[in-house]
Assembly symmetry: C2
DNA sequence: AAAAAGGTGCCACAGTTTGGCACTATTCAT
DNA sequence: ATGAATAGTGCCAAACTGTGGCACCTTTTT
């Protein structure tokens, strides 16, 4: 058994049992007393608060705040969770306040330094509005399952995104744009992108996007996205829905 | 540099560059060609899809679906994220469908077998309703930041929970109950618990709970929580708010 | 055919982990 | 007081593992 696996076993054992003696733990990992003690030391160095009680009836206890799970999530999944939390916070329907914040900052703390930059820029490109459920929007389609992943890849590596778009009038065209932001106005999501062929910003309703792919060729620069009402064609909708 | 750290560097490098030759990667980690190749092998064993192209102009590519971040989250944070995702799914305001599902199953896949049981039972005890924002509920307070952690500890280790509760009439009393479920009716959360001193189920509005702690002494058995309207005093509210 | 790339097997050396031992400090029961 | 049970430390030799170099194979492009 590798040291890392052994340490996971120790954490699980401590979490489950609440308190355990060194002997018990050593038995559960199959390692010697000495090695177990070294493992405990290593875990403490990693920031786990493990309290030791000497003497008869003593043992080791894992501080409740140190009980963690290690999750390996794809970037897209973290992104999706991020949107979930941000939406809830924006909607204000759940008393999430501090919870959501600790969640985000903890995720950030768990990432490698290089990943934090990506995380931040994804967070920055995400705009969540407060559109309540609208009665006059019956025809909300399914979002292409590849959309988030494509957007995130294109956005992070600053390469163009290509897809088929069906506009309001039902006309379909092939687009190749520079993705700049994601606008969430529940229940609709919009991709905000610079369209080079039209030399201007465009909003694309994500449920009208088909077959999105990130194109690796052409790197582009980020632009300041104007979120003024005259740029966002749906700001009016949002204003209408918001309780004055 | 430890093997694990080196492998992280390799993943970052591949994720960033899209494609890289063995030489480039070896240079970035400082290890030899042979060791790098061994690291790649190890990553593949861990489930990362790394594609290799022989020949001139070839190189190694990390499959986009394998781009992961490792996050170490406390159980409570995973629980909070879980509630966030479940709420969104229940509300149906976001076209989250498949996304939310993959998110949950991926979290589950990332957990150790023993942890999956806890994850499942937390998922099972979570009931999310569809209460829309109510105009007549102005006085929603803040939820005690320790509440989720205390509930989760008490629920998982089947021990009682103690707190101060201020009821509808403003009267405060000390309670000691067996937590059975968490009922989320946005924007309100309710703790559903068996109250031994009253020999029945009680619903506690979480924003009226103060100083929650898990009491380690008395283990109890889980009960089937009746979610019929005559048990839940707020079902009426929910019915009223739901669009008929 | 040659060059450039990934991939495998082998081996000796270097470095790390491991278990045992002796030891100290603390706590509790008798 | 004494002894037993517990956490914790220092040290060392043996066992194990990771590492880098080498020769060699396969595939692809020029």
């Amino acid at each position: 058994m590798t040291p890392h696996a052994r340490q996971e076993v120790i954490l699980r054992h401590l979490r489950r049992a609440g308190s355990a003696t060194l002997q018990e733990i050593a038995l559960s990992t199959g390692a010697s007393r000495r090695t177990t003690l070294r493992d405990i030391g290593s875990l403490r160095e990693q920031g786990f608060l493990i309290h030791g009680d000497s003497g008869r009836g003593g043992g080791l206890r894992l501080d409740p705040t140190s009980m963690t799970l290690t999750a390996r999530l794809s970037v897209t999944e973290v992104f999706a969770l991020l949107i979930a939390v941000a939406s809830l916070r924006a909607a204000g329907t759940l008393p999430f306040g501090s919870l959501a914040d600790t969640g985000l900052s903890k995720i950030e703390r768990a990432l490698a330094p290089e990943q934090v930059r990506d995380f931040r820029s994804l967070l920055d490109c995400l705009h969540v509005g407060q559109l309540s459920p609208l009665q006059d929007l019956k025809s909300v389609g399914q979002i292409d399952p590849d959309l988030l992943a494509s957007f995130e890849r294109a956005f992070l590596s600053r390469c163009r995104m290509r897809f088929c778009y069906t506009d309001r009038r039902g006309e379909t065209s092939a687009r190749e744009v520079e993705p700049q932001a994601l606008l969430v106005l529940p229940p609709l999501w919009y991709l905000v992108a610079w369209d080079p062929s039209r030399d201007g910003f465009r909003h694309f309703r994500t449920d009208r996007i088909a077959a999105p792919v990130a194109v690796n060729d052409l790197p582009f620069r980020r632009r300041r996205v104007p979120f003024e009402k005259d740029i966002c064609p749906y700001a009016e909708l949002e204003r209408r829905a918001r309780p004055a």
